[in-house]
Symmetry: C2
Subunit: 230 residues, 2 copies
């Protein structure tokens, strides 16, 4: 069986889990903490980030971009019923732009700071930065949420799916990130009915079910996290 | 003619310029400062980063990853003499991993800090962070150069080209980044003869010539910057 090193609060990991579920690829999941920088993990991926996918012959593929392009080339291209890339290169470029937006820009401006301050620091040793959350970092990260929600809202109101008329990798990438902020109760859904409607459509897909069952020790997910109609 | 918004000290921009030169695509270059956040530029790319390529019908493609995948799909795939992606999906994954390493990891840990502190801050208004370089930021960025050089050295000594036996996008991405650090005199070549040998091979390609002619106001490039045999 193939293996994915992941963390339930890593957007990039959730994105790859969604794709694996969509393609029906049975995968052994191993939870990994990036901050622990374990030598065995760094041997697989010297960059030290999640996710890492052990492909055929146990060859490690590191990072969401590398893994989804690989899965698309080796699986997606054989599945006419599961085309998450449009055929037109310009439309594919739009999917890739949005993947980068949600997996890198949203992640670096918002999600990873909130996850680190609220969750990881509780388990990290003091010597490598563990301890109480830094409220200034949390405030800065939270201040970046509304502009991102406004942009997502613009996408949701002007297109059927985020990158155009069809469901694409961009919807899976965005939903992976949004689901983490929602798990942590960081999203004010009242203000954004169009995003909620889009997120409910994605969240209702069978591929999403395992993510909705994720639990993190000592954290209660937001009350509506696993509701398909919230 | 197609258009590329770029900056001579942006690794991602240099990477795309190299690809355009390799494919012989005549492109109108427009120099842009990311830090200026001009509304006309943000209208093309709301993420605000370089490069932006105006493709057919003036459709803007934003960011090096989006642009190189597009150029490969629309140009590279028609040029059997210029294959910068191997045919095997696992080998393509290795090229993508290294592109991400040099365009994102090296950039975020080293290059963009050095360029910002040493170059951009001289032109930026004080109100948005201009002024004298912050020596602590420069020290931290420079401390990250040796581990990156060691990794590049490992790639150069264990493979013919960075991603394997053939020249690939990974060599162009790495050379784009290294050429900026070399322009700024930040690389100690004495220590790394294998990297120098690899860099000389890349630098001798005709596609590299326009980069070697780049000049930045008020900055003298390192003495060997444009030498093909240094």
């Amino acid at each position: 069986m193939l293996t994915l090193f992941h963390h339930p609060l890593s957007s990039a990991s959730r994105f790859i889990r969604l794709i694996l579920e969509e393609y029906g690829i049975a995968t052994h999941l191993i939870e990994e903490n990036e901050w622990a920088r374990k030598p065995e993990f760094l041997a697989l991926n010297p960059a030290g980030h999640l996710p890492v996918f052990l492909a055929e012959h146990e060859i490690p593929l590191s990072g969401a971009t590398v893994i989804y392009e690989y899965l698309d080339e080796t699986r997606g291209s054989l599945r006419p019923d599961k085309q998450f890339f449009p055929a037109n290169p310009l439309e594919r470029a739009e999917v890739r732009r949005l993947n980068d937006w949600f997996l890198n820009k949203l992640e670096n401006e918002v999600t990873r700071h909130i996850v680190r301050e609220r969750i990881y620091k509780r388990e990290m040793p003091l010597a490598i930065g563990g301890g109480a959350p830094n409220s200034q970092i949390l405030r800065n990260a939270r201040a970046n949420i509304p502009p991102h929600m406004n942009y997502l809202n613009w996408l949701c109101t002007s297109r059927d799916w985020l990158a155009g008329s069809l469901l694409s990798y961009a919807d899976l990438a965005a939903a992976a990130s949004i689901s983490i902020l929602d798990f942590l109760g960081e999203i004010d859904w009242e203000q954004f009915p169009s995003i909620r409607e889009w997120y409910m459509r994605i969240k209702s897909r069978p591929s999403f079910r395992p993510l909705l069952n994720d639990r993190i020790r000592g954290i209660t997910p937001s009350s509506h996290y696993a509701d398909l109609d919230f």
